[in-house]
Symmetry: C2
Subunit: 144 residues, 2 copies
């Protein structure tokens, strides 16, 4: 008898759906050859992850309109700090700035920035690798 | 009048203390030239971040006893999903496997793994860069 959690992999569609069910995640990228991470808010639109970045955010310097997209990871999780039951989803894919003015306006309306700083870029991450797992208590219960 | 959050940088000591006040974080590293991230639990001991990894975890392949340490980032946050008030801390530093049997035994007792898989490595991350900020509502209130 153990109370240890089980790691249960999930299907890609379930992972994307769970990612879209929360608004906070973390973008992971390389900045000056070092691993870097920033919490941001996001939405999922037609399977893509859309984020906004503010001026001065490190991601802006690597995802610039003048460069092709860069590969980033994006992570979200909901893990209970006491029971450790929950889920985690990580996608990896190319991040590119959105340049269409209509798309920018639409996403800006949907993605309310947290911070009272000028927001200057809307970025789309197209998931390539998608991994997700649930942390369950080993019973049949499924935690959403 | 705005209800937007303010980003308030914090001192290094405050950031390390907040990191030690929670047990869940995310290790960020490079795996096969791609940015990678895994949620893990941690403790802070004398300013260092200590984590355990299980066999098969991607970090194990990059933090091996036969290699010198690798640079990783480690992030933890507590951000209210509704109000967006909270904090985020990111450290960057060299991760090395702990080899002293006494240290391993002590940390293994303190760091209860979540998952019922064999745990094979205890890793120390010595913070080099430490950045932390609070997301406040712009009022004098301070959220811990």
């Amino acid at each position: 008898m153990t109370d240890k959690r089980q790691l249960v992999p999930m299907e890609r569609d379930d992972a994307i759906r769970l990612l879209g069910s929360v608004s906070l995640g973390r973008i992971v990228f390389t900045s000056q050859a070092l691993p870097a991470i920033r919490p941001v808010n996001h939405l999922v639109d037609d399977g893509d992850v859309i984020i906004r970045t503010h001026i001065g955010a490190a991601i802006t310097s690597v995802v610039a309109p003048t460069t092709p997209g860069v590969v980033v990871a994006y992570e979200a999780d909901q893990i209970d700090p006491e029971s450790h039951i929950g889920w985690s989803v990580v996608i990896t894919g190319v991040a590119t700035p959105i340049t269409d003015a209509g798309d920018i306006a639409r996403y800006e309306r949907q993605l309310e920035p947290w911070i009272s700083q000028p927001m200057d870029q809307v970025v789309r991450i197209v998931p390539d690798l998608v991994t997700g797992y649930r942390l369950t208590d080993g019973l049949a219960r499924d935690i959403h």
